[in-house]
Amino acid sequence: MDDDKKKSKLLFIALKLTVICFAAVILLIVVNIITAPFIIRNNEKVEKEANKELMPEGNNFIRKNFSSLEEKQQKKYYYFEVQDSSGNIIGYIASAITNGYGGNMKLMIAFDKNLVIKNLKLLENSETPGIGKEFEKPKRMAIFIDTNSESKPLPVKKYMLENPDSVSGATISFNAIVKGIQRAIELLNNQLK
């Protein structure tokens, strides 16, 4: 009898906690519905600014999907065809989401027509300030610029860098960025074949 009482008491407590959680979920859904369009608009604005910063000589940035990917993956990986003022393709900017130390990291990588990396930028991320977040600085990202060519391959491991100590403490973020770049190159290669 006592056991039954205990069980029903516990059940009652669990039920109350569930009600609180359920109410919280409903509230979050409502706020998300209201704020989502604004957040999407802000993200698009950031992306536009990043495009212009990565390839200032570009005049027209046309967003395209990788045809080899499923619809769900196309939100994570896509690219922009960059055209100059006379409509000639001068390069590509790939967007990739990769998994860093603090969760998802969004990368924008600018390539020339031969897929040599010309510039790259780390956008949304939750990396540790002062360590992984340092990759937001162009100085840190400079280690990847002009790589992915025959004379200068992409540094996929720390030991391939001129100064491996420069990424010490941020190995997971470095590896995540490399993975994102590799995936973007692979997808662009397949797409442009």
């Binding site: 109350k16 906690l17 979050l28 604004f38 957040i39 939750s126």
Partner: protein
Amino acid sequence: MSDIKKSNRYFNEFSKGILKENPVFMLLLGLCPTLAVTSMVANGIGMGIAATFVLICSNILISLLKDFIPDKVRIPAYIVIIASFVTIVEMLMKAFVPFLAKSLGIFVPLIVVNCIILGRAEAFASKNSLTDSIMDALGMGLGFTIALIIISFVREMLGNCWFDFTGYGAKDVLTLPIVNKETKEIVFYILGQRLEFYSGSFVLISASGAFFIIGLLLASINAIKDKINSKEIK
């Protein structure tokens, strides 16, 4: 008479968080976000408003639900309530003040574990009436915001020689009248000779500078407190 007593009580609940029980300067609570975000006054204001919003909303809800929330699971229940409001603040920031969301970064979600908020929920809102809880949250939130603004004001002024409000829509950074607007340096001319006096100190903007400034401010406050106490004893 009872109305006067009531309003006095509300005023006491409100004012204690600003001075007597200031969460940062007196109780030394919430020091992690305080150290991290006070490199800019703009960040300090943003963080203060965000934490105050969460504090008021969670205090209201916890005070209303104090009889509904079972004692055995009160902490998980408080965390769910606080985390929900923090997520709401994060979404609102990302939607309407994206620069602040980017600038505060990981410290917005970390409001969930800010000991001021959980502390007020457990120590005050769960035991007091709705109006008292609101006044307590307002006072504590305002006290936290004032502390953040004071610390960030000192750090940004001494570290940069300017105040950056460009994220809030200001056209240019704000400088003190003695700072040269173009070079952002304090420059004096003595007998026609240009004498660069001060151009900011990076260490005060860095994390170690935060410890240094907070330490100095706490020492000053303690010295003032000691002086007042010794006067009262005399």
